[in-house]
């Protein structure tokens, strides 16, 4: 079925939310451009040609490349060890190695600052600036790459490597020549996600004092109050993100790796580690120690120094976080449903464009997105400015893409014939969807909602710029106290975020039956 005019009246309930979502992403961005172009011509040259911009670009790219390199060095061997070898406890390690996803960047930075340096709980010199940001960002984003490479390793067809071996290549070269190219799409996909995280990250770089575009936008907006320059920096950052997306698209297009026939794809025999086993364990334990055990130990240690009389602030922040995140999850699912439905049931260039817009809302660096919404809401929707509904709306637009995945997956599994049967009984497309399809989508919708919920709890930059006054969440409290070097005060807030996220990561892994 493609989307044709006769279908339209029955689909209106789907089209309206879908178009609203598209507008919610596209309009503020348009507005950001307009706002940036408001500057007087000579001031504009001064803004665009500042040597500072080059420095920021250099800093941002340097961090991006460093993190991509380090995450690859971590994720590639880890994914190999936990899928293709006879390492004992592979499943447990896979779970432990995924859990650092639960630690947001600003919490990682906070742990690094609180635990190291003189007077810290670890006898290490304090790492700040580039090296600190590189370390923290790599250790919290490598799981994305790890998960995507694991999936690729598990789907690898060993016959290719075996064919290479019969042509006289050694095991290592056979892997490199035959198997490695098969991993490239997963590698690139993972790199894209990691890259978007690095470009969008604000918490880590601001706490560790490393000036990237995101940090500079925030500085210009909040401390030096140069709105036009902030808008331009946001545009530069958008261009950089666009370049990353384009590059990934181009690279993926040149890879064609499908199997010619289904053949007899089977699982590879695990590689026997033998004498290398101790080394493998060391390699697997290192990230678990650094990215999971150490932060948790530091957080618990710091929380024990927490002044008890401030507990009221903790419960208030928890309530605020939940009050923003719960409606965000509902709204994100509500927006994802019609978009996924149109994309799955009525595939066309229009529905694909809508889906792209939804993903764009996720790819836009959150700080730039929030800034665009500030300008847009003040000029066009003043009653929404600095209100909780606006914060919820923008968070939902941003995390919508995370809800889309599980919902699409669930939709694909609902047989279309059920809907068609309902249609022959006189239901409109919408009626058929709600009476037949939706009851079968429960799991997908719940998983999508869970992802949006936890995303909203961890999120920092959008909340920082759009929250109503006096509305402090767990995330803003961690940042505020850490900036003031009040590490003990920040601990319970950080701990709550990590525990909440970890619970969700666990639930999601379990529901995907990845392990």
């Amino acid at each position: 079925m493609t989307l044709r005019l006769p279908h339209l009246p029955g689909l209106i309930p789907f089209l309206i939310p879908a178009l609203l979502t598209g507008g919610g992403v596209a309009l503020p961005l348009l507005y950001l451009v307009l706002r940036a172009l408001e500057a007087e011509p000579e001031a504009l040259w001064e803004i665009v040609l500042r040597p500072k911009n080059l420095e920021l670009l250099g800093n941002t790219l340097l961090l991006l490349l460093g993190v991509l390199l380090l995450t690859t060095l971590l994720a590639l061997p880890l994914a190999f060890l936990t899928t293709r070898t006879d390492l004992k406890g592979k499943r447990l390690f896979a779970l432990l190695l995924t859990l650092p996803l639960a630690i947001p960047g600003y919490v990682g930075a906070y742990v690094l600052l609180a635990a190291t340096g003189p007077g810290g709980i670890l006898p290490l010199p304090r790492l700040e600036g580039y090296w600190g940001a590189l370390l923290v960002l790599s250790f919290i984003t490598y799981p994305y790459l790890f998960l995507s490479l694991r999936a690729a390793f598990l789907g690898l067809d060993p016959s290719l490597e075996e064919a290479a071996r019969t042509l006289g290549l050694g095991p290592f070269r056979a892997f490199l020549r035959a198997a490695f190219p098969q991993l490239l799409p997963a590698l690139l996909g993972g790199h894209l996600v990691v890259g978007l995280h690095v470009l969008g990250d604000f918490g880590t770089v601001s706490l560790l004092r490393y000036e990237t575009f995101s940090y500079a936008i925030y500085l210009q907006y909040s401390a030096a109050f140069d709105r036009v320059y902030a808008a331009w920096l946001a545009l530069f950052l958008l261009l950089l993100t666009g370049g990353l997306l384009l590059l990934e698209g181009l690279l993926l297009r040149r890879l064609a790796l499908a199997r010619t026939g289904k053949g007899a794809s089977r699982r590879a025999r695990p590689v026997h580690l033998g004498a290398f086993a101790p080394l493998a364990y060391l390699l697997v334990l290192l990230p678990v120690l650094l990215a999971l055990v150490l932060p948790l130990y530091a957080l618990l240690h710091l929380a024990s120094r927490f002044p008890r009389e401030n507990l009221q602030g903790v419960s208030e922040a928890l309530f605020h976080s939940a009050l923003a995140a719960a409606p965000t999850a509902l709204l994100a699912v509500g927006m994802a449903l019609p978009i996924a439905y149109l994309a799955v049931r009525y595939p066309s260039s229009a529905s694909r464009l809508l889906e792209r817009l939804a993903y764009l809302g996720y790819a836009i660096p959150p700080l730039a997105f929030a800034l665009a919404w500030i300008f847009f809401s003040l000029r066009s929707l003043p009653f929404l400015y600095a209100s909780l509904p606006l914060l919820i709306l923008v968070l939902a637009l941003h995390f919508l893409a995370e809800s889309l995945g599980p919902i699409r997956g669930a939709l694909h599994q609902v047989p279309r014939r059920l809907e068609e049967a309902a249609r022959t009984l006189g239901e409109t497309p919408t009626g058929a969807f709600f009476r037949v399809t939706f009851p079968l989508l429960w799991r997908g919708a719940a998983a999508g909602g869970a992802l949006a919920f936890i995303g909203a709890v961890k999120e920092l930059p959008i909340t920082l710029l759009l929250a109503p006054m006096g509305y402090s969440t767990l995330a803003t409290r961690v940042l505020g106290y850490t900036q003031e070097a009040m590490f003990a005060e920040a601990a319970p807030f950080a701990l709550l975020i990590v525990l909440l996220s970890a619970a969700f990561v666990g639930v999601l892994l379990w529901s995907e039956r990845r392990f």
Binding site: P118, Q220, D226, L378, M469
Partner: protein, 331 residues
């Protein structure tokens, strides 16, 4: 079916909760949440008035007020610096206040009469006493870059370019010594590759931790560290030097406020002995009304007042200072 109805209900309830907001006093504060939140809560408890505070920097609040224009929900602007308060007054955002309020502070009543000074703080040089003796320091902050260069302190000096008091000090340098001299000072400092901090607390923590040796900051930050038992000292330049600049925090009522009674009560509360004692005791600032028990670590108020030069605090060329900082790539 039942489960779905329940979910929809929960959703509606959650959304409407966010929309329900009663009549409250709305404060835009350039003062840090960590410092003044307890005082706000105390005011709430004592008066029963519900208070909402929007915390941020002075620049952020001024900009928000400008952007919001007549639609601003703010009743009170509680500024961290007199420069920002002066700007708010000059742009006609604030109402003239009554004499009863303006008579109370002992000094610094602004010509505009649109805001009331609440506390006083002085810029000082914070340093690690294991590294320097007070006699070694130069006679003016303007000579600090040269001193640091001679002592080989490259990379061991801190500063807070985004902090409003620092920006006010640069603006006062321009007002007192001209832009060329201020530029020379900033370039000299920049040549030392100073470490940039987002807050004074983090910067002083770095002095405590031995990462840097000295930094210009506000006096009460050093007092707070000393009270916590850390070895940190402050140096004050000879009387009248811009490195000792006095900075005034204060508050005014916005023209957009439709909650005048509550706003006036809040300003009166800030000048009450109880609140002033909080500023001295919990933050370590100088009070601006009499009858407050002083802290032995602080100078008597008259001496503190003599330390600072007296540029017109409402007329500090803050815009010029920000432009200069941006031009030099410091911001």
């Amino acid at each position: 079916m039942e489960r779905r109805k329940l979910l929809i209900l929960i959703g509606v309830a959650a959304l409407s909760l966010g929309l329900a907001q009663g009549q409250t006093l709305t404060i835009y504060s350039g003062r840090g949440q960590a410092l003044v939140e307890p005082l706000v809560r105390q005011f709430e408890r004592e008066t029963g008035i519900r208070v909402q505070v929007r915390y941020g920097t002075d620049a952020q609040m001024l900009a928000a007020l400008q952007e919001e224009g007549r639609r601003s929900p703010a009743d009170v602007f509680w500024g961290n610096t007199s420069g920002a308060l002066g700007q708010a007054a000059a742009r006609g955002l604030l109402r003239p206040l009554g004499e009863t309020l303006l008579r109370q502070p002992v000094a610094f009543t602004p010509a505009s009469k649109a805001w009331v000074p609440v506390t006083l703080r002085l810029r000082v040089l914070a340093y690690n006493p294991e590294k320097f003796r007070a006699q070694e320091f130069p006679q003016s902050i303007l000579d600090l870059p040269r001193f640091a260069r001679e002592r080989g302190l490259g990379g061991r000096v801190g500063w807070t370019p985004t902090y409003s008091s620092f920006q006010d000090m640069v603006a006062a340098m321009i007002a007192l010594h001209g832009e060329a001299r201020a530029r020379e000072w900033l370039e000299g400092m920049r040549a030392l590759s100073p470490r940039v901090y987002a807050s004074n607390t983090a910067m002083l923590d770095a002095i405590r931790a031995g990462e840097i040796d000295l930094a210009s900051t506000n006096h009460y930050y050093v007092v707070r560290f000393q009270r916590a038992g850390y070895r940190l000292d402050m140096y004050q330049f000879p009387d009248g030097d811009v490195g000792n600049l006095a900075l005034i925090t204060g508050a005014g009522i916005l023209r957009t406020s439709n909650n005048l009674t509550a706003a006036t009560r809040f300003l009166t509360y800030l000048l009450s002995p109880k609140a002033q004692q909080y500023f001295v005791g919990n933050i370590g600032e100088y009070p601006l009304v009499g009858g407050v028990v002083a802290d032995p670590r602080l100078l008597p108020l008259e001496e503190a007042l003599a330390k600072s030069p007296r540029p017109d605090l409402e007329q500090l060329p803050l815009d010029q200072a920000l432009r200069l900082l941006r031009e030099l790539g410091i911001l």
